[in-house]
């Protein structure tokens, strides 16, 4: 079979567009995929016509009509009519769904018949259609894996200030809030800012910033008004979504300009910091606009934008932290009572030396008659420099601008050619190994796509620019050095030590003498916020890390092409089959500030393909789905991951699901190639062998920092070949409607075994290749904190023993009269079998409980709306590179009431996030989150 000329002509401009945005090395796979899919364009197509009304015989517009088991679909026009073009040959089943109406499935025997459907109003429990569970539409009740869906109506009715917050109220989900606009959802553990085990896919594009390794969905993603739905797949999902989906995938889809034309906008304004606890009361502004227009029947476009401006939450954990490499713990002490104080969210105080051995003892040698007095002082006197709190060094203004646009051209009635792009910029704060002020961060994602419902072919690129982002710890330490160097005759430590001794000689106690010494050494220290401070700080933060400043340069890009074809119409009778594949290339470019790329950019190639077959058995009572995916990354061996799932229909609207999934992830680009000395003096290294060779691990061995080392017999650490991390996950669940379809139950339990779990391990290396620095138990601790003597590295490696996780979730939603729906849920995630000494960073609470009350129309003409969402979670021992510590249990309540003006298409809402304004943190060292109270005014929100 050869592609016909017409199709080739149509594809030509697409190919050229793709090729211009791709690197030459991408040419091959792109061509391969194109040639692979072209023959499929010839398939026969049929048109199906119909109309949808309500029980009062009024036409319904905007109703979704999709062909079951394929990607074909459309929506009804203003008169309730639709025309659907599909390559699926009748007989087929249409799924007809609209918010507020019961979902209907309609059997169509021939293309000639006109479909007439009358929809019944319903509170719509369980009436949703999901796509991401199998990459084809299916009823949520029949999903083979656990899935949560956030619909347009949920977003519209939500009490959350942004749509991303809604995800946090779903069962089994944790959100790590690094700052107001930086939120990272996690499922099934390993919570962190920028979780690399959960994919975030926006309109088919992986939203992960390719260099920084975190998903920027909440910073640079869809404009709230352009979100059609969010689907969350907790649990392993690599088999369909590729490397990364170890713990889940969040799939966010935007609104098609054909389906959702018109102008809409929304303005939210609110108050934060109302009690002045961390900073003065301030305003919250959020404005969003979307305009979509159809031009004729073939062409439509949309543009949109969102602007957020607020004073950020403040990370204000000023507890004292005792750090050793990338582990540590909170200890008692304040700046006034511990000369070696290192506040969690205080930066610059990581610089610490032992003034006894490094200043006072040399002083004793110079002034011998004080030697006995100095000798009588404690053997070690560690003193840290005076730091600045986070709100003193990080710009308090959170600004977030998102712009998006798309062109959609219908080449044929069922073949869309789509060009779209998202671009965003903003200021926010991220928690990694240190706290990073992401300043003027920019990221754009651009895509061209051919989509026929049954198949698609897309190419996209992610273009990242870290802007003026800086590491707060490194920058503040360097700022201190720029103001007054630590070392030297007139350096800070010399002044401190002399003033300390002087104060002792005047009779002060140790504590008082330390404070007097600090006051003396800090004379002239620029006050935070002063122009002197600003000037010097801005100077330091704008010098790249490699040149001795705090700026990290990151212009890493990602290029990706992928395609998928649903051959259900051909394979019918045997099974519904879809196949797909992709190729991606990372181009790491940090100019040596983050990656080991000072000599030039580093490329990483990765490709993969997948296949899924679905077969219904036993009169549709049992549906078996088999999926598999193969991926290869140039730095790792190839990986095949299967998924087997089954849905057993025990009764209508009651299904049991069972699945086994194998998922995996290649180490993130940072885990492969990072080469960054962080604020605490530890060098974070990637796991590739080239980096270990560069630091001579072979000739100058590294030793584990463990009990053996402190006992004087260090153990050499040899890193084996770096492997992909995999998880084998078994899951069983039940979803069903009972009690007269008023109660929706969703239950799941899972068990996962992680193999080759990637964790960082801390090792130490003698600067001079002299093992003796580790063999004397009396001095090893001191040597470890002396950078002239020991290099510290944090190296990712695979844990050889298996790490196990298990957990459950249960959700109950009950439909009450007058449109009220109440829900309760509970979920749990537990980690076991972690070998001692590894930082697993599981961080999920053993128990979380949620409760919701929603109503999307009550009172006069059902114009009033309301929503309450409550969440409580148990305390967690939180572990992250930045710090470890107990995260206390907390609860939070979001609430909203609103009123609709249907004739004017307006909605007014008054709402609050964290209504009770009881501050909490959901990760160690992160911002403490208080109440956000808002009023919103929306127009034409569908």
């Amino acid at each position: 079979m050869f592609p016909n000329l017409k199709t080739m002509l149509i594809l030509l401009p697409v190919l050229t567009t793709q090729l211009t945005i791709m690197q030459p090395s991408l040419l091959k796979p792109a061509l391969f995929l194109t040639l692979f899919f072209c023959p499929l364009l010839l398939l026969a197509q049929v048109d199906i016509n119909g109309s949808i009304k309500n029980t009062d015989n009024e036409p319904l517009s905007g109703v979704s009509v999709t062909v079951k088991g394929s990607g074909s679909g459309t929506v009804t026009d203003e008169k309730g009519n639709f025309k659907l073009t599909t390559s699926t040959k009748p007989p087929l089943t249409l799924i007809i769904s609209s918010i507020g109406y019961a979902l209907q499935e309609v059997r169509v025997k021939t293309a000639a018949e006109t479909v007439q459907v009358s929809l019944v109003t319903s509170n719509s429990l369980g009436q949703e259609v999901v796509i991401s569970a199998t990459r084809t539409p299916s009823r949520i009740l029949e999903s083979p894996v656990t899935i949560e869906r956030v619909s347009l109506a949920t977003i519209r009715n939500s009490s959350a200030a942004t749509y991303y917050d809604i995800v946090g109220n779903l069962k089994g989900v944790d959100v790590v809030t690094a700052s107001l606009t930086f939120k990272t959802p996690s499922t099934r553990g390993f919570n962190k800012s920028g979780n690399t085990r959960l994919n975030q896919i926006v309109d088919g594009m992986d939203n992960q910033a390719p260099g920084l390794n975190f998903s920027l969905g909440s910073v640079i993603g869809l404009n709230e008004l352009d979100v059609e739905s969010m689907e969350l797949l907790p649990g392993a999902s690599s088999a369909l979504y590729g490397p990364g989906g170890m713990n889940g995938s969040l799939i966010i889809n935007s609104k098609s300009p054909f389906k959702y034309p018109g102008l809409s906008f929304q303005v939210k304004t609110g108050l934060m910091h109302t009690d002045g606890r961390t900073r003065g009361r301030s305003n919250y502004y959020n404005a969003a606009l979307r305009w979509a227009q159809k031009i004729g029947k073939k062409f439509a476009f949309k543009i949109g934008g969102e602007f957020i401006h607020a004073k950020d939450w403040v990370a204000d954990d000023y507890r004292n932290y005792k750090r050793l490499a990338t582990t540590g713990n909170v200890i008692p002490g304040t700046r006034e009572t511990d000369p070696n104080y290192e506040g969690v969210n205080v930066y610059g105080d990581e610089t610490s030396i032992d003034i006894k051995t490094r200043v006072l003892n040399p002083l004793a040698a110079a002034v011998p008659f004080y030697a006995p007095y100095i000798n009588a002082l404690p053997a070690t006197i560690n003193v840290s420099r005076t730091g600045y709190t986070e709100n003193e060094v990080v710009n308090p203004n959170t600004v977030n601008i998102k712009l998006s646009g798309a062109l959609d051209y219908k080449i044929t009635s069922s073949l869309d050619f789509i060009v779209s792009g998202f671009w965003g910029t903003g200021n926010t704060v991220y928690t990694g190994s240190d706290r990073y002020s992401l300043k003027d961060l920019k990221m754009g994602q651009y895509k061209v796509e051919l989509n026929n419902g049954n198949w698609f072919l897309r190419a996209f690129t992610t273009q990242e620019n870290a802007g003026q982002s800086f590491n707060t710890t490194v920058t503040t330490r360097l700022f201190n050095e720029a103001w007054k160097p630590s070392g030297g005759q007139t350096g800070w430590y010399s002044q401190y030590s002399q003033a300390f001794l002087q104060s002792k000689l005047s009779g002060l106690s140790d504590a008082a003498a330390h404070n007097a010494a600090r006051a003396f050494a800090d004379i002239g220290r620029p006050a935070a916020g002063s122009s002197e401070f600003r000037q010097l700080f801005d100077k330091v933060r704008s010098i790249p890390i490699v040149k001795g400043g705090g700026l990290f340069v990151d212009k890493t890009n990602l290029y990706n092409v992928e395609g998928q074809y649903n051959i259900a119409s051909q394979s019918k009778g045997f099974a519904d089959i879809i196949i797909g594949g992709n190729f991606k290339k990372y181009v790491l470019n940090s100019e040596g500030t983050l990656f080991a790329d000072s000599a030039g950019t580093i490329g990483i190639d990765e490709y993969g393909g997948y296949l899924q077959a679905t077969r219904s058995l036993l009169n549709d009572k049992l549906r078996l789905i088999l999926s598999g995916r193969y991926d290869k990354n140039q730095n790792f061996d190839g990986k095949f991951t299967p998924r087997i799932s089954a849905v057993i229909k025990v009764a209508e609207d009651n299904n049991i699901r069972l699945s086994y999934q194998n998922a995996y992830r290649f180490a993130s680009t940072q885990q492969q190639w990072i080469n960054l000395r962080v604020g605490t003096g530890v060098r974070l290294l990637g796991g590739v062998k080239q980096l270990q060779d560069y630091y001579h691990f072979d000739t100058n061995p590294v030793y584990e920092i463990d009990a053996n080392m402190f006992a004087g017999s260090p153990v050499r650490r040899i890193f084996p070949k770096f492997k992909a991390e995999t998880v084998n996950s078994f899951e069983a669940g039940y979803k069903g409607l009972v009690a007269d379809k008023k109660l929706l139950i969703d239950v799941y339990g899972y068990y996962g075994i992680y193999k080759n779990f990637i964790a960082r391990v801390n090792v130490a290396q003698s600067v001079n290749g002299n093992k003796s620095v580790f063999t004397n138990p009396a001095t090893v601790q001191k040597n470890l904190s002396n950078p002239d003597s020991v290099n510290l590295y944090s190296v990712p490696t695979n844990i050889t023993s298996d790490v196990k996780t298990y957990g459950f979730g249960i959700g109950l939603d009950y439909s009450l009269p007058s449109n009220f729906v109440v829900g309760v849920n509970a979920s749990s995630d537990i980690l076991s079998n972690v070998p001692p000494g590894y930082v697993a960073s599981f961080n999920a609470p053993e128990l979380r409980i949620g409760a919701t009350v929603n109503n999307n129309g009550f009172g006069h003409d059902k114009r009033a709306i309301m929503s309450l969402a409550y969440r409580w979670q148990k305390s967690v021992e939180y572990e992250e590179d930045f710090g470890n510590g107990l995260l206390p249990a907390f609860h939070t309540l979001d609430a909203q009431v609103g009123y609709k003006f249907p004739a004017q298409k307006f909605v007014v809402k008054v709402g609050a996030n964290n209504l009770l304004n009881q501050y909490y943190r959901n990760a160690f060292g992160n911002a403490s989150i208080g109440g956000l109270y808002y009023v919103s005014f929306g127009y034409n929100l569908y």
Partner: protein
């Protein structure tokens, strides 16, 4: 009851329950930094200032504190963030020191004098209980609270040193026995010495330079200082406030015979040579020379200038063999003999040094000896006839800014 009423009731019940749960429960306040409690002294809650103000046995001391108030010590004694080890004479100690009443304290001294007097007996910044004091020879050198200068190039004050010590015979401040120890207070500890420890005002050299019994030792020092490799070094050291020495100064009566002997040994061969040159046979010269040489040596050694006739290195060797690099009071001497290096060991590290020993009656040494390696018998330290006799008549435990001086009755011979 119909279904919808049940539903409405259920809804109300739910709403009320949720409201109660939410309002009743509170997030715990976010954890905040906890201060470290500075370790206390483990003593009473009274400050040092309060103690002196209330204990009538210290009314003289308190009067001195009050008169010197403008210098701030009284305020410092009230500071709970301060720490002091105070050797505070009680009223009896004042009386033993010749100050018979409060009126004498306040009338007989200027405020600044009193301030210096008190500060010299204070170790600032630390709490030294008697159990913290070393028994190792000779004592522990600690800075007092009396500042006399600044250390150039630093912000550090130059404070006079104190030498507390402990032994089987007692606990001492310098050479003064402590009669009541370890009164631990909120911001320090108070020990009571037998008498007031007066701060030294002079250098060792001032004494050597002026003492009429030490003219030969002075001359020896001056002769040794003509060493071209270190001109003036010894005198400078004996005038250096940073030094910390014990000088066993042989009195003239002891040093003159040694000078005579050394001169005689040097002169005798010269006289023999001269006699032979004058025509005598070697036998005749050897027989006739001794009285001539003795007469010459006798004349030369009759004044300290005789040292100028001796080789510099010989004189220097003798001088430095009489000096220890630490400050040792007689009460610091051990009851069993020990060897201790002298400054001679600076040039001859293997030299066995001198041997030291004392015998005690109560807290005081009644006999203290120092023996040179080349001596057949030990030299005696000329113990004061009355304890604590100051210069010019004191002969042992003479306290100076840069050391302590003991007169001895026999020259120490290094070989």
């Amino acid at each position: 009851m119909n279904k919808s009423i049940i539903h409405k009731l259920l809804l109300k019940f739910l709403a009320v329950t949720i409201a109660i749960v939410i309002i009743a429960s509170c997030n715990k306040n976010l954890p905040e930094a906890v201060p470290i409690e500075a370790p206390g002294t483990g003593g009473s809650t009274q400050t040092i200032a309060e103690f002196f103000a209330t204990d009538t046995n210290y009314s003289f001391y308190n009067a001195a504190l009050a008169k010197a108030a403008s210098f701030g010590l009284a305020v410092s004694f009230n500071n709970k963030d301060a720490r002091y080890t105070v050797f505070a004479p009680d009223n009896n100690a004042f009386r033993r020191s010749g100050i018979s009443s409060e009126a004498v304290v306040t009338g007989g001294f200027r405020a600044g004098q009193l301030d210096s007097l008190l500060r010299y007996s204070i170790i600032p910044g630390e709490v030294y209980k008697s159990s913290d004091i070393t028994t190792a020879f000779p004592n522990i050198q600690l800075a007092s609270n009396l500042t006399v200068a600044a250390i150039p190039g630093t912000i550090l004050p130059l404070n006079l040193s104190l030498y507390p010590s402990k032994s089987a015979t007692g606990f001492y401040l310098n050479n003064i026995p402590v009669v009541a120890a370890d009164n631990i207070l909120a911001n320090g500890v108070v020990h009571t010495p037998l008498i007031i420890a007066a701060p030294p005002t002079k250098y060792l050299w001032n004494r050597i330079n002026t003492d009429t019994e030490l003219t030969y030792y002075k001359a020896a020092v001056l002769r040794a200082d003509t060493d071209p490799s270190a001109p003036g070094a010894l005198q400078a050291g004996l005038l250096n406030i940073g030094a910390n020495l014990t000088v066993f100064a042989p009195v003239d009566a002891a040093l003159r015979p040694v000078l005579f002997g050394a001169l005689y040994q040097g002169i005798l061969p010269q006289v023999i040579q001269q006699l032979i040159a004058g025509g005598a046979t070697p036998e005749q010269a050897a027989a006739a020379a001794p009285p001539i040489a003795a007469a010459k040596a006798s004349t030369l050694s009759s004044t300290p200038d005789g040292f100028n006739q001796l080789p510099v290195q010989t004189v220097k060797g003798i001088v430095v063999y009489h000096i220890l690099g630490v400050k040792a009071y007689t009460n610091n001497f051990p009851t069993d003999t020990i060897s201790y290096p002298t400054l001679l060991n600076g040039g001859l590290p293997q030299h066995p040094g001198v041997k030291l020993k004392a015998t005690f009656a109560g807290p005081f040494a009644t006999n203290a000896i120092v023996k040179g390696y080349g001596n057949a018998t030990a030299s005696n330290i000329m113990i004061n006839t009355t304890p604590f006799t100051p210069e010019p008549f004191g002969t042992s435990d003479q306290n100076y800014l840069n050391g302590v001086l003991h007169k001895i009755d026999q020259v120490l011979l290094p070989q």
